[in-house]
Amino acid sequence: MVAENSTQPISVTLRVWRQAGPAAPGKFVDYPATNVSPHMSFLELLDVVNDGLTLKGEEPIAFAHDCREGICGTCSCTINGKPHGPGHGVATCQIYMRAFSDGDVIIVEPFRARAFPLVKDLVVDRSAFDQIIQAGGFISVRTGAAPDANSIPVPKGDADLAMDAAACIGCGACVAACKNASAMLFVAAKVSQLGLLPQGQPERDSRVLAMVGTMDALGFGNCTNQYECSAACPKAISHDFIARMNRDYLKASVRASFKPAASSATGGA
């Protein structure tokens, strides 16, 4: 790593996974980059390389990005074997070239998981996450039907912990980092956020059962409690939430099997 505030330009080689489409064969291709300012962001370097490729008449590298400030969760490369690259608690778009040294070969790959099929080059399809949320990652509240916001106090500790979980940006780094491509951290974060709040109680059981069921059905792997997910998470979300979800799931399974259900009588005229 270059000294924190060095402004000496560096030269690096990007070794990038190129794959024209889901069914096409893929391979690593080297792209040298010279005179790189350490203040440049990694994605800006990709921009520059892409402009160069365009001028040479080659297809630029497809990569996902949007906010470029670590909040939208769109960017998604694995850099040198780590989802989102060097650094802790940051996304790919927050990697600056000062994290690399002159002469480095930087290996750039897409997130890899069966549940995240490849679209092109470094872009993968993460809609499986949306499907998990659609299965139950919400509190059913009809617009306009909510009581006054202060009518239910929420202990500050619970609200803060819920916020820790809610910080998830849905980037998929947890899946990419897990050797089993498990989505437990993502699902646990949502289950915990809503489960910690009083507003989330009515659907707490059905939510965790539905979300875990959908997660399983989508072909994610299983958790082996190695915590690679939380180590790669750009928001450093704790794997404690996974323990919490495991507990919730167990309790919910037991309750769903034994708790008497009301007979489904409908209302009168």
Partner: protein
């Protein structure tokens, strides 16, 4: 879906099966070790203990069935989960670094399989007598208990009862360095298995949190260390000549 479906059919449920069966097996290996450590006392102890266990009759079978079922379920869950995990990453990375997964956690399958192989060998060795038949307890002269064997103060096996000579079987068995070595490697890997497993179980059951994870880790490490040293002690002592077969004369006399 009912409870069984949720437990056997879901990722978390199967993990819970791993954890619960893991605990049962861990409980067994702890008990087993404590029993075995009696070898460092008079032969009366371990031989009396062996006779006591046999005397349990149907209860012993219940325990055995629970253990076998646990092992089967544990292995079943491990296999299913592992297969799913492999399938979940169909295309591998060119380069992938481990960020913080511990060595023991990454060796779970290897350590598990070796432990399984050892388990089979171990049963063949000391329970069924398929290997080293010459020193198997049933081939050795019977032993007559010198003192009463007590459990929690109650006499369970009276002095004078003839028993199998477990003591000599173990000592004679371990005098073969290959056997001891395999045993040591296996308990080493089992300790490694538990180094992740005992910790992991708390996470799976939802009892672990960062607030006390450090403490839990220390307890687990200590436990695995003690467990390993405890197990190492028996073949170690035999190999170092600290444990010798008791003179067969006494045993022979009672035959």
């Amino acid at each position: 879906m009912n409870l069984a479906g949720r437990i056997f059919g879901s990722s978390i449920g199967r993990k819970v099966i791993m954890a619960i069966t893991g605990v049962i097996l861990t409980g067994f290996v702890i008990g087993h070790l404590v029993g075995n450590l009696q070898i460092f006392a008079e032969p009366d102890h371990i031989n009396g203990y062996g006779a006591f266990l046999h005397q349990l009759g149907p209860l012993l079978w219940v325990a055995r069935i629970v253990l076998i079922a646990s092992a089967v379920l544990h292995i079943w869950a491990a296999t299913v989960l592992t297969m799913e995990n492999h399938a979940a990453r169909d295309v591998k990375y060119g380069v992938k670094h481990t960020l913080r997964a511990t060595l023991s956690s990454r060796l779970m399958r290897v350590s598990g399989v070796v432990v399984l192989a050892f388990l089979i060998y171990h049963l063949a060795h000391f329970t069924l007598g398929f290997t080293q038949a010459a020193t198997f307890k049933e081939s050795l002269p019977l032993y007559t208990l010198g003192t009463d064997f007590k459990v929690a103060g109650f006499i369970t096996v009276r002095a004078g009862t003839p028993t199998f000579d477990v003591y000599n079987m173990v000592v004679l068995g371990f005098q073969k360095p290959v056997v001891s070595l395999f045993y040591i490697i296996a308990v080493g890997l089992l300790s490694l298995h538990l180094l992740h497993g005992a910790d992991s179980m708390f996470q799976t059951m939802g009892w672990r949190s960062e607030k006390w994870a450090g403490g839990l880790r220390k307890i687990v490490v200590l436990f695995c260390l003690v467990y390993f040293v405890g197990n190492l002690a028996i073949p170690g002592a035999v190999l170092l000549g600290k444990l010798q077969p008791h003179e067969p004369a006494r045993a022979a006399a009672t035959r």
